[in-house]
């Protein structure tokens, strides 16, 4: 038992990759999903307390979701934490997880095309309004699938991409859906018509194209007012004006692909295949490069759920998840590996 634990600790320390993190609805906990199919729960309150010890920066609880692969995406509702990755979509109640007794509340699987097709889900989002709650999942079979999770029925799929889908977001109160794919295109879907409304191809735009890195798009974010679209990946990260679909500002990171970005106040935070968190002005001026622990970053998130725990987390290929209380520097790191006793 001890041997197994130490082996796992070693594995985590050397090979851990955190693909996604989500804050609990109460804002006190952080769930992190890694490539081993585990979900680890950290207590932010304990880690931020004045008398925080090393132990309080370790997971208070972790559980196994997938045996065959990693969890690539998490999404959260008030009640559920939904995991998606190499396997069926599984939902756990937050309350169960916090009580250290996770049970699968429900699960969904994408329609199989053949016996051997096990399409992974790279990104999932939930759109919730007064009448319905829809889950969209961008999958490895080049499709975006959707479910009504009120009753668990499969709604439809959006087809058009020619390669797997990296990320999806909804906009305009769920009227539109945007997906970014390995094929280099970002497609804006009309949800009601269930067809592609517009297609953006940053790899064809001279401002953004970086053929030596690739044309794939991973970074996809829409601002609150649904005015700007952030697209990045192989091509340079840029804000696209959603009305005209032209890039207005680019965020130059020579040789570094940006995986994730978010709008924060009047700034844009982005991170990718380097161990820096970049701060930009909307106009494209580089403000700061905050050094962080993960060498490649897959998730940055701000805890808006709790004011007293409003921190920024930066996670990626490291056993550590950096926590920034002031977004300009890493205050401390949460770690998967318990301190050596």
């Amino acid at each position: 038992m001890h041997l197994k634990e130490s082996r796992q600790a070693c594995l985590y320390m050397l090979h851990n990759v955190v693909y996604d993190t989500k804050f609990s609805p109460c804002g006190k906990y952080l769930a992190a999903a890694n490539k081993f199919g585990d979900i680890a729960l950290f207590s932010l309150t304990a880690a931020l307390s004045p008398d925080a010890s090393d132990e309080s920066k370790c997971p208070i609880f972790s559980f196994h979701v997938y045996d065959q692969g990693g969890i690539y995406s998490l999404c959260s509702t008030d009640i559920f934490l939904i995991c998606a990755g190499e396997g069926d979509i599984q939902a756990y109640k937050w309350s169960d997880i916090i009580a250290k007794n996770p049970k699968v509340a429900w699960s969904l699987s994408i329609p199989k095309k053949g016996v051997f097709s096990h399409a992974e889900i790279n990104s999932c989002v939930i759109h919730q309004d007064s009448s319905s709650m829809v889950l969209y999942a961008g999958a490895g079979d080049h499709l975006v699938h959707s479910w009504d999770i009120e009753n668990g029925s499969y709604l439809n799929s959006f087809s058009g991409h020619t390669d797997y889908i990296h990320s999806i977001v909804t906009k305009d109160d769920g009227k539109n859906l945007i997906s970014a794919s390995e094929d280099g295109t970002a497609v804006i879907w009309d949800v009601r018509l269930k067809e592609a409304a517009q297609v953006v191809k940053p790899f064809e735009n001279e401002k953004c194209a970086r053929p030596h890195i690739g044309k794939w798009l991973k970074c996809l974010t829409v601002d609150e007012d649904n005015y700007w679209l952030l697209l990045g990946g192989g091509p340079t990260l840029a804000t696209w004006h959603l009305k005209t679909l032209t890039p207005t500002a680019t965020y130059e990171t020579p040789g570094v692909a940006q995986h994730v970005a978010l709008f924060h106040e009047d700034k844009i935070l982005s991170a990718g295949s380097s161990n820096h968190l970049n701060h930009w002005s909307i106009a494209g001026e580089h403000k700061m490069a905050v050094p962080v622990n993960p060498s490649s970053i897959f998730s940055i998130d701000i805890n808006h759920n709790s004011k007293s725990n409003k921190v920024l987390t930066v996670a990626g290929s490291s056993d550590k998840i950096d926590v920034c209380s002031n977004f300009g520097y890493t205050a401390f790191s949460l770690t998967f590996v318990p301190p050596l006793s």
């Binding site: 309150t45 008398d51 309350s95 403000k287 209380s325």
Partner: protein, 657 residues
């Protein structure tokens, strides 16, 4: 005895008071001073005491009246003027001011303090300084004690500045001689938060009542490290302790890395102009005497470029202290090599951070560097046990030099009425003063270098005599040198030179031979009578003639040298000459002194200090001569004497030398 005095005193006091009040309302101090001056009483009362008392009485009335700040100033001004007229004791204005500043509120004190500042020159002058400096110091110290260092910083600064202006630069009483630290400047911060019950078993709790006290997440880790540094800044000697050093260097590195990670925006460059101007206004305002250490502020403080600057400058200060040699450091207070290395690195890092911190980081950083350089000078100054700033001249320079200032050539000429001219170099002066008349000098016998025809050709004539049996090649006339000189001489002074113009083309030596022959005939028609000479003798002569030029030159030089020596001797009067002059000048010595350009004061001095004209004259002449050793004293004296109509004396003087 006492009752009439008291009565008189009271009477005078009343009268003075009324006058003072009147003067105050008219702002007419003359009235008061005139009145006091003219006041007569029956018993010869000490008027100063009365006026002192009256001033204080008036003050008592004014001080309670809040609206009378300007009146207070006026009454002090009156007192100052009264002191200047010696009508009240010098301490009165100081006592009055001390009373004022004791009584008034801080706000009003600040209003009135400019009176103290404006009069700083008065306080520094006599009789105020001696009697008032202690009053002023006490008054200022009392005032500072009342002030809050964080609230009344400007006023505190004003008082300090005033004191530094009042006391001389060498006043060391306010100096931190032993380089002590201000240990009272403790920065208090939350070291341990009140234990949060329930946190230990938080997993089971999903309560909403949780930690709502802090509205924002706080990096307590940083918070503690950050403020722990302040204690090192307060007492830098802690750093020499090994374990403390560990803490310090660790905390400092962490803070520096955070600063370097978290770059600040240059607001002034991005924001609009209006805001910039507003900021610059704020910039002048923002000052904190003490850090605010609430944990909730930390995030905001990290965003504040000024705050960052304070901390970075503190770093630089402590680094400088740790590295510097300070006289009062203990023996153990030395850095290891590793520590010095670390400090060097950290110093560079902090400097870089400082220049990166907007706005105008580079400029700010340079100013700080400059200030710290200065600090090093002060430190060195203290290490040298605070030498005086006023540099004393070395002892030997204290004596006035013979030639204290550079004179212009004309000055001397003017001073001696054109009799003597100094050219700045003794040799030049001597040459210039050889003879007052240059033409005369040029005509002098010593300057005739042209030999006489006969002398020059004497040898040649001898040689031309066949009896002399001089071989052709040894004859002077065959020497080129001789030929050239001969021609020059002939051209100037012999008629023979022009004789043969009709038969040109004769070789020089042949021509010369002719001339020599002619001359020989002219000079000595019976040249047969010339005694035959031995060959040796002739050769000698020849050699002598061959070297004639050199010899001539040598001779001239010798002459010059002799002249030199002569004039060197003659330039200065010997004591016997002085005596000679003095004795013969007699009562005219004063006129002589005047002519020599001595100031009347000196003449009076000589007259008074010595008995008799001769003694005075001797002393005067000696002093005059020593006054300027380079002057041609004799020449000047001679001319002066001639001017005075004492030509005989000049002759006497010349013969004596």
């Amino acid at each position: 005895m006492s009752s009439p005095t008291l009565l008189e005193f009271d009477r005078a006091r009343k009268k003075f008071k009324i006058t003072l009040e009147k003067s105050l309302s008219n702002n007419d101090v003359e009235n008061l001073l005139g009145y006091v001056e003219g006041y007569k009483d029956e018993i010869g009362l000490e008027k100063r005491t009365v006026l002192d008392q009256v001033f204080r009485d008036i003050l008592c009335q004014l001080i309670t009246n809040i609206s009378e700040s300007s009146k207070l100033k006026t009454v002090i001004t009156f007192a100052i003027l009264a002191v200047k007229q010696d009508m009240c004791s010098p301490s009165t204005p100081f006592l009055m001011m001390a009373d004022i500043f004791d009584m008034l509120t801080i706000k009003r004190c600040e209003e009135i303090f400019d009176l103290v500042e404006d009069n700083v020159t008065t306080w520094k002058s006599e009789p105020f300084y001696e009697s008032g400096k202690n009053y002023l110091l006490r008054m200022c110290n009392d005032l500072i004690r009342r002030l809050s260092k964080s609230q009344n910083t400007v006023f505190c600064g004003r008082i300090q500045l005033f004191l530094s202006r009042l006391f001389p630069l060498s006043e060391k009483s306010a100096l931190n001689l032993a380089s002590q630290f201000n240990m009272e400047n403790v920065t208090i911060y939350t070291k341990q938060k009140k234990s949060n019950s329930g946190e230990t078993n938080e997993v089971m709790e999903v309560d909403d009542t949780g930690d709502q006290s802090s509205a924002v997440p706080i990096d307590y880790h940083l918070y503690k490290k950050f403020w722990a540094l302040q204690d090192f800044f307060r007492r830098p000697t802690q750093c020499y302790d090994k374990s403390q050093w560990e803490t310090f260097s660790l905390n400092a590195s962490d803070v520096m890395s955070i600063f370097s990670s978290y770059k600040l925006d240059d607001l002034s460059s991005t924001q609009k102009k209006v805001i910039t101007s507003q900021q610059s206004h704020q910039h002048a305002q923002n000052f904190f005497a003490k850090y605010l250490t609430s944990e909730k502020l930390l995030n905001l403080q990290l965003n504040d470029s000024n705050f960052r600057r304070y901390v970075l400058v503190q770093f630089l200060i402590i680094f400088q202290y740790l590295k510097a040699t300070v006289k009062f450091k203990a023996q153990t207070h030395t850095l290891t090599e590793e520590q010095s290395e670390w400090i060097k690195d950290a110093q560079e890092k902090v400097t870089k951070l400082l220049s990166e911190t907007p706005p105008h980081g580079e400029q700010f950083c340079n100013s700080v560097k400059h200030i710290l350089d200065r600090e090093e000078h002060w430190n060195n100054w203290k290490n040298d046990s605070c030498p005086n700033f006023i540099k004393e001249k070395p002892k030997d320079q204290l004596k006035p030099k013979a030639k204290p200032k550079r004179k212009r050539i004309g000055d001397d000429l003017m001073a001696t009425n054109g009799k003597s001219l100094k050219l700045g170099n003794p040799e030049l002066t001597r040459l210039w003063n050889l003879n007052p008349d240059n033409m005369e000098a040029a005509k002098a016998e010593s300057r005739v270098f042209l030999p006489k025809l006969d002398d020059f050709f004497a040898n040649a004539i001898e040689q031309a005599d066949p009896e002399a049996m001089v071989e052709e090649q040894y004859k002077d006339i065959n020497q080129q040198n001789f030929q050239w000189k001969a021609y020059r001489l002939l051209a100037r002074s012999s008629p023979h030179f022009f004789v043969h113009t009709n038969t040109p083309g004769l070789p020089i030596n042949v021509h010369l031979k002719d001339i020599v022959d002619k001359m020989a005939k002219e000079i000595n028609p019976h040249h047969q009578t010339v005694e035959p000479k031995t060959e040796i003798a002739e050769q000698k002569t020849e050699m002598a003639v061959g070297d004639e030029d050199d010899i001539k030159e040598d001779h001239e030089e010798d002459e010059m040298r002799n002249e030199n020596d002569d004039s060197n001797v003659q330039q200065q009067m010997s004591s016997s000459q002085i005596r000679l002059i003095a004795e013969n000048v007699g009562s005219k010595w004063i006129a002589l002194g005047e002519k020599l350009g001595l100031p009347p004061d000196d003449l009076t001095y000589f007259k008074d200090s010595f008995d008799g004209a001769t003694e005075s004259a001797i002393n005067m002449l000696t002093v005059w001569q020593e006054e300027d050793t380079e002057r041609d004293s004799i020449g000047t004296i001679k001319e002066t004497l001639i001017e005075l109509g004492l030509g005989k004396l000049v002759e006497l003087l010349s013969s004596s030398s």
